[in-house]
Homo-oligomer: 301 residues x 2
């Protein structure tokens, strides 16, 4: 079975207190797709780039067996570019610039061969486009949706429309509070669940993640990271690992969803270890399983 | 065996977005002692109050078999009084007033019968007094120390002196960052461990707690509280439950320390459910064990 990933593809400038990188491969699609690729099966992506998108980036995606049939390369246009700078407390980042370029007119069109995909990840893009993607799918089995505070502010109704149609909404704690208008996280989660998604995950960065499902709550620990190099893409890697694991196991029980949350956390814990996508490159099953066991040990009592 | 608790005893004014209470029993000693009392064994307290301390408060402490031999009641003086107001986001509170009164000259003197106590909780007081308590003890088996950012700011050296002598330091995440000068929590924990305590617990409020011990890390989940009534005393209840459980089991292995962290979290989860000490009154073994099992279920995968 295949995982379908629709989101952004970007070239990032990232500055941290210790280092910086420019023209780095980024965007939600990139991190989700590479994260999902480690669990076998096909990963189909839909995205758009300009002709400044280097061949080395294409080769990198192909190396992870990511199917690029849905990748549009627009001539004489530039790829979406994003620049940000992390503060000494790396939980806080300031955007430096957002050049939408070719991404401004992004209209995700699914190749015929994608329309039967079972596991779908709607990366953080305009909820109108997320709905368009759902309209093109024949009978998706499990739809995962990410979003951000920007869309909560300016596309609230469209976001609410798409949330109703998804199986799993993944947001972070501040987005949950903003979407619900409630500062208590558990109450916020109850309100967001009332908006329609079958399951809800609230990511809490260095504090792990919470899964809300059918009246039950699972608290996944965070991996203790003492050398945070670059948090960019951590949330997307999380969604990718989670989707890849679900696609591989094809088991939507609560017990297996919990494992998917931990596998997502595993991939995210590798992501923050290096700049850009480097942290999630060159992984393998043994490294992933070893980290999974470390998560188990951290939470066991 | 006995748990010795030394800290503050206060009469609190507490205002939350929904309600308020005045002349409520508070102070670290109170919450620690009641929390510890549920695990059997003797709880010996040292503290000071004025003659405005109501008989009903004395009776309440006696009801939990708390030994008051070390309680000084000073005639014609007032009990320590503290007032605070919680903001709508109840993670934030503003102090309204701090009237030290009789607590200003507090000099903890241990009754002879306390000097052989094995498990000791040094509640959040001047580190100079914490050291004085340690000097009076014959051969404590396990010393737990709490503190706060106030002492980190104005009594840094004295705090470092006492930290070196304790088995377990319990602080919250912002205190860990302030004490270490490091914003990454895991790195902060490594630095604080280097200051001498055998074990370290970092409390993260709604995000649970981390235990650092001998190069290992345990992440305890938080109980999902959707109706936070009053967070006052949660940290002290945590320390009390933890100390009570250790005193009962008298097992200082890492595996048992992890269970102690969870039992501490259990008591704290009850504490925030009602105003003042009411949340940790009228508990029993069955309720505590039921909540412990809920914690297990939340973290299990």
């Amino acid at each position: 079975m295949a995982v379908l990933v629709v989101g952004s593809i970007a070239l990032d400038y990232i500055e941290t207190p210790l280092d910086k990188i420019d023209n780095a491969l980024g965007g939600s699609t990139t991190f989700i797709a590479i994260g999902a690729s480690y669990f076998g099966g096909t990963v189909n992506i839909v995205g758009v780039v300009g002709d400044d998108f280097e061949d080395s980036h294409i080769k990198l995606l192909e190396k992870y067996n990511i199917n690029l049939e849905g990748l549009q390369i627009v001539k004489d246009e530039k790829t979406f570019r994003y620049g940000c700078k992390y503060q000494p407390d790396m939980n806080v980042r300031d955007s430096l610039y957002t050049e939408l370029n070719v991404f401004e007119k992004f209209n995700p069109v699914l190749p015929e061969s994608y329309k039967n995909d079972s596991y779908v990840v709607l990366g953080n893009i305009d909820p109108v486009l997320q709905s368009n993607v759902l309209d093109q799918l024949k009978s998706p089995k499990f739809v995962i949706c990410d979003t951000m505070n920007f869309w909560i502010s300016i596309r609230k109704q469209e976001l609410l429309d798409v949330i109703k149609r998804v199986d799993l909404l993944i947001i972070n704690d501040s987005e949950a509070k903003e979407l619900s208008g409630e500062s208590n996280l558990i109450k916020a989660a109850e309100i967001v669940q009332g908006m329609g998604p079958k399951h809800l995950i609230i990511k809490k960065g260095e504090h792990g993640a919470l899964l809300f499902s059918d009246g039950k709550i699972f608290s996944a620990p965070a991996f203790p990271v003492n050398n945070l190099v670059d948090p960019t893409g951590a949330g997307d890697s999380f969604a990718g690992g989670l989707a890849g694991y679900l696609n591989k196991t094809d088991d939507l029980s609560y017990e297996n969803l919990k494992l998917a949350v931990v596998y997502g956390s595993v991939i995210a814990s590798f992501c923050v270890d290096k700049f850009s996508t480097r942290g999630i490159e060159e992984l393998n099953e043994a490294a992933i399983q070893k980290r999974f066991n470390e998560f188990k040990e951290i939470a066991r009592f």
